[in-house]
Symmetry: D2
């Protein structure tokens, strides 16, 4: 069987500007605001010989909370991976952090995801293609679809070539196949709904317990529910959009990660609305996944996000 | 009194590319679709020695309606203004047109408008400034506000310098001053609500009977009603917008003329949301008025617009 | 061999809004300005029962030239394809037109193109993918490259699956292989240079005699010649761009068809400059080809274009 | 005399989210890269009870240099203004910094600038208007122009109302009035050239010795020198732009601070090119000045900028 190899990651020693042996670390932090948090975090990194390349701090007005995201370069021989975790865990306790996550892309296992799709495949195809190009740092453990695909379709061939399992789980009103899906996605880090036309139940969300990223083909909160392109078309809007958001129990109301828009006019038909929308959806979903994998997306207040 | 003169219009004979004595005419047309409409219109113009500079035709899919907008250059000595009207009236009858309007900016009286405003004056100031620059081809017959302004404020001074009456009509729940407003705006061609914080009644709309352009500081239909910036901020959107639309009886639901957006992030505060929104509102309202004065905006289906 | 079928064109009778049997015609026209051109063109269409759906007229200031592009729907049973040509030819003579072209996408043979590429394949891949999606109305007669590709690469497999010949013609300073290329592209309608890293000679341009569309990875006329991303990077620009243009004898100086830009900052590296640039190049080239196939692009004055 | 008061700054105690008495401090830093810089800076702020609200770090690939910009909130009663300077000076020495600047907008004197202009006043008017709105945190010590303005023009009246001196210094080939200008701007912090149509000499730049911000009505490095709108128009570009940059001895070649673009087409005339350009110039210049006053702009390498 012909296997197309993905573009491989640069070697660990290839960190630009870093000495031989250095790798990139990312740390995100969320805790009550206090004096000295940045000092403590940066002192920790410096004391291990690490070198900060980027800092992002967000302290919202009057909220007394603190968010940060650091990128730093370090030598794992001098600062072993498990000690990195230990060091940050101590600071996490010190500031009673709600969240403290470290990621070292060159040392840690890649994010493992599953993609749920239905008949429409523009988002799925784009996702696979960008993954193949090496632009989405993750492994796709499987694609699950409630729509059947013949073995010689573009998607089926692509998946076969890359050794990614394809599960066809047709759903019906009475049978959402959630138990089977749960089993299939058990060991994933997060799920991507690439235009999956089936609402996930509260029970599913609770059982899965990890993040689920959805793409909505409308400019939320404007056009919730079904056929937003039609809704937008009928409303005579002059701008059409797409929204990527986290899935919550309330349909299309989860925290927004990314939104994109494009101009439309009276000349646009429902069909061209749909085409423009699809183009936005692809870009919007990819951007959201990319930000998520780079630890740029954090929950913020009720139903909002910080996107560093 | 110091009077700052506005930039004056170019003389009628200055039409670029036109022979001495030629002026620009605009014709918009809306009728049931049929074979030969463009032919008839262009033949009419050509037979009078007029020269078409621009044609815009819109025939929506499966709707059997026809919209067009022509710009043509002609010599009024050869094709007198009243004969222009007669000629197009005949074609209008021939095709049972719903709308057929001719405008010759250099010969016809300017559009006369009234501006209604409240306390916030960013839209009002921008409108006045662009009018002064000569970029909005209209006369402002008066500014009506339910908010009082001291005589030495920027707006008051500006109006005084340009000889534009300022009417302070404070409104209350029980007294919307609509009768007085109606009297003041009787001879206007259309009204502009530059952030007028008072809903106009059905009765007012019917009595006035002409178009009213409003600016809404939200991306309709998302955030209808009061304080859309706050609504958008609370919804955690990543894009903020403004909408200019015609006023109808249903609040913030009239046909959309123009929409604009700008990116926002978690770093934006409610205050910066408001600032970005205000900036969009100014641009959006000006653009809508400009399009309207150039006969580019036509009603389309239920609650939509064609904007040529 | 597995063959992935392309999305097929809609049937001729599927023209939206048109009666059974109707097809879409496009006519572009360029002649000295005169009174009555639009009238003559539209009268011709109407007299044959054709129905104009779109008109675009451009009469530049003081230049006494006329450009137009019409879209009309007609019944080929009533107005046979060859009679269409005859009818417009008569008008062409009447107005001494420099250009008068009719195209009926559902009846005429598709545009046949050849793509020239080198090692970099982002533009080539994107072009193939969009062609596969049916978004570029043309046939690709062959791909010619001065860079060798193994038979199991993505591009090679794709071409094999779709039965498109791939010609590897390595070039050197002394041997540009132009004679062989000319032979291969002889029956094409136009050429696309999808990052072909070899300058075509004056002799080649003259022998081929048809249009050649190039994509330049810089915002012309800023960064002509080699490595524009590096040039832009060194110049410290805050906006990076791509330009699609017609090939002329003078390197990177042919008429511009489309340009796109994206924001960059000090954080961008030469590598990210290149990535952003590649993304722009793909979109820019596709848009230029699409406009060209729809007869939207016309030469204008010295080295400019009208893009309807 | 009627005086229009400017919107006043918020009181020092109004820092959002800060305790009573707290003010905002900004610190920018540029030094050779080393381990522990962020740690040292943040430790210093924390040790004085200051609270970091924003950190921006830039360590370019392989360049071994470090740039940062901090925003922090502190209590001047606990950390007096002069001690702030002392503390950062020590760190500056420690890391052999090339640049270390502190600014406390509520305690420090405002930036004092002079504006140089010529006949065209769109940039000047926009600048004055935004300054009046309180959006540009600076004092305008004077406006110098080589073009005469009658006392009853908009600009002259505005300046009179705000008590800003207007100096008319007509220039000629032999007399650039640079000695007089130097005297007038001696105590300013930086200069703004709001479409000043006179090249400043090397001697002037050296004598003044501080930054000078210029607005160029073209997308540098494309259209240097005179009449870039005309150059762009003749080149048939599809995008028009404006560039704000620092003035250096070489005309139009200083480090770029900000660039903006807008789409143009064959329908644009030289006049509409100019109008679109003017609109971009205003926005671009204001944005550059705003960034500069907030200590966001730093020199970077040869002829580039970091804009945090």
């Amino acid at each position: 069987m012909v296997v197309l190899h993905r573009i491989t990651r640069r070697a660990a020693s290839m960190i630009p500007g870093g000495p031989a042996g250095s790798v990139l670390g990312i740390h995100v932090f969320h805790c009550p605001d206090a004096v000295g948090i940045v000092a403590k975090l940066s002192e920790c990194i410096a004391s291990r010989g690490g070198n900060i390349h980027s800092v992002d701090v967000f302290v919202p007005d009057k909220k007394q909370v603190f968010y940060s995201r650091n990128e730093f370069v370090f030598d794992p021989a001098r600062w072993p991976r498990d000690v990195v975790d230990n060091d940050f865990n101590k600071i996490s306790k010190l500031f009673s952090a709600e969240k403290s996550v470290v990621r070292v892309p060159d040392l840690d296992p890649k994010f493992k995801i599953a993609v749920l799709a239905s008949k429409q495949e523009h988002c799925l195809v784009d996702l696979l293609y960008r993954w193949q190009e090496g632009r989405l740092p993750m492994d796709i453990s499987c694609v699950i679809s409630n729509h059947q695909r013949a073995p010689n379709t573009h998607v089926a061939l692509f998946l076969k070539q890359h050794g990614i399992p394809y599960h066809h789980l047709p759903t019906s009103a009475g049978n959402t196949r959630e138990a089977e899906i749960l089993e299939l996605v058990e060991d994933t880090d997060f799920l991507v709904l690439a235009r999956y036309m089936q609402v996930l139940s509260r029970r599913f969300l609770e059982s899965y317990g990890k993040d689920i990223i959805n793409i909505h083909h409308g400019l939320l909160p404007s056009f919730k529910g079904g056929n937003p392109s039609k809704q937008a078309f009928d409303a005579g809007v002059k701008l059409i959009g797409a929204t990527s958001h986290f899935v919550t129990e309330e349909l299309d109301a989860g925290p927004i990660i990314e939104q994109m828009v494009e101009r439309v006019s009276h000349r646009d038909t429902l069909k061209s609305f749909v085409q423009k929308s699809e183009n936005l959806e692809k870009q919007c979903l990819t951007q959201a996944i990319k930000s998520y994998c780079e630890l740029r997306v954090l929950p913020y207040q009720v139903n909002k996000t910080v996107v560093f």
